[in-house]
Symmetry: C5
Subunit: 150 residues, 5 copies
């Protein structure tokens, strides 16, 4: 990729050690995939607060892609599921409305062990998110160029 | 934080003792986190009525953040789940449409004991909501300032 | 309350005896809570048809609140759940878009006994809906007055 | 009813024998309930394709009501549930946006026997849909007339 | 069909062998159903990224239909379900907003064996999607012509 890109990461602070691993891995992979890329990080209290920040960043049209990171461990109540569903839906909406790739790695898990496996080396969802962000930024550029030339 | 802020709490009246604990804890934490802050409280019959009041308050653009508090104990019917899902989704929408933090602590629980643990000292969701409101009010301000200066 | 108000009830015809109890109880409570109030009733075949009528009535801006009443008994198929979810969501949307309280007492139940308990004296959801309608009509008036004067 | 009406049926082709029974029963009941009514039929491959056709027909403002018919038998995957949920939600949206009754008898069933009972004489959802369409067409007319004259 | 048509396939790269079978089968069936048709293929990292590409292609108004292909195997977390639900809903929305058939064959399965059966000869969802795309392209043309002439 020849042009320098900017990426934003929006991460929730709940389950901070797990989220930190996601953030570190995503930022590091962004740098290795997209040389010279700028990466900014915003932190919000919980996952429910992620979309409003993603929306405000998307509207600046400064970023090539935005990555949403967080860890929701489902407890005894329905709260985790309710939050996950609306966060998922609104990350999608923001992406479509602003024509910007939004990568969704707000992890939901029944317990901490399952969450840890996704955060750590086994699945490494942070790095995966970074690669998806870089790939999608390129792809949307390509589509804009290719489809216009028809 | 240097400027004085205004916060609104919208609380449902169902399960009144539990909700009162949430409200008291949230109001008290708002005052300790944000000195001199104004806190207004509106009460509605049930959780389904929360979003319309949150919307009307959000549109005034007077408040730095709005906190939705309530307790839904799931019964033998699907009603609690149905209400929870639409309330969650519309609190998110109102937040995004009005660019205002809406903090969602409408608690859902399978029984009163589980609800009580979230309302009381163990989880203290009221205080947590207040801290999230203050943090998000500050963060949205920061984003507006930082992103514009790019 | 000093001014005379108009309320609309929109009720589905499925499970007619149960719905009739809801309607009677709601209408009677509206009259005792809000002296001289006008109450109009519209009936639709099933719960899926409730929102379009609620929407048309909401748009007239004639009513102080609209009450949706119905009884959905879940059968062997997913139909009841699907209908309940979309009805719940669209009653909320119509309320928010038209700034009018919409009270949702479309009861969902796994069987007739559970539905009967909610319709009858034990829970008396019809009267509860009426009280919520009157309270919300007053509250939205208060908010309009109080928030404008700031 | 004194004026001649037009109704549209949009049916999916999956599980063709079952859907055919729904269509036949709906068309026959429309003719007996609404003398001289015009009934047009459009067929689409699967239930997911129903809403786009319902939308295009609704926008013509030619039809008094549109009936959506189909049979989704849930298999080993989530596909049937996913399709049912979005179809239900979008039939509702199209109805509200275009102020036209949309009758939803896209049947979901865990197996063919359960579907057959709903399609055949036991429940006869096709005829039920037709009666709902005729009743709703009349009701929306009445509302337009009655509410305007206030 | 007399006029030459263009179709787009948008496929996710997760579970690549399974998706490749879907793509091959869909492309081959498109060519046999619609002689001389142009078929373009876009690939995205995961299913969550499908809708933004479908949207951008839909807005060009170049394609007669767009086919979304992917395989989501549900794991130990809720992620697969969350993604499937929002993808399903937004493929529908994009279809309705742009009046273009969007065929949804993003397969969800509890395990690889179940997914394989849908991808391979037993169910052959790729070919099914292609036939639905061709049929729907023709049908929407017919509706435009027929309904306008009324």
């Amino acid at each position: 990729m020849s042009t320098r890109r900017s990426y934003a990461i929006v991460a929730s602070e709940y389950n901070p050690e797990l989220v930190q691993e996601l953030v570190n891995s995503a930022a590091s992979e962004l740098n290795s995939q997209s040389t010279g890329a700028t990466v900014v990080l915003y932190q919000v209290p919980g996952a429910f607060e992620i979309p409003i920040v993603v929306q405000e960043l998307a509207r600046t049209q400064v970023y090539s892609a935005i990555i949403a990171l967080g860890v929701i461990i489902y407890g005894k109540t329905d709260h985790g599921r309710l939050i996950s569903e609306t966060v998922t839906d609104h990350l999608m909406r923001i992406s479509l409305e602003n024509k910007i790739p939004v990568i969704h790695e707000v992890i939901t898990a029944p317990d901490e062990t399952t969450a840890q496996a996704r955060v750590g080396k086994e699945y490494d969802r942070g790095a995966e998110a970074a690669r998806a962000a870089v790939e999608m930024a390129q792809l949307l550029n390509d589509i804009a160029r290719r489809e216009v030339s028809r």
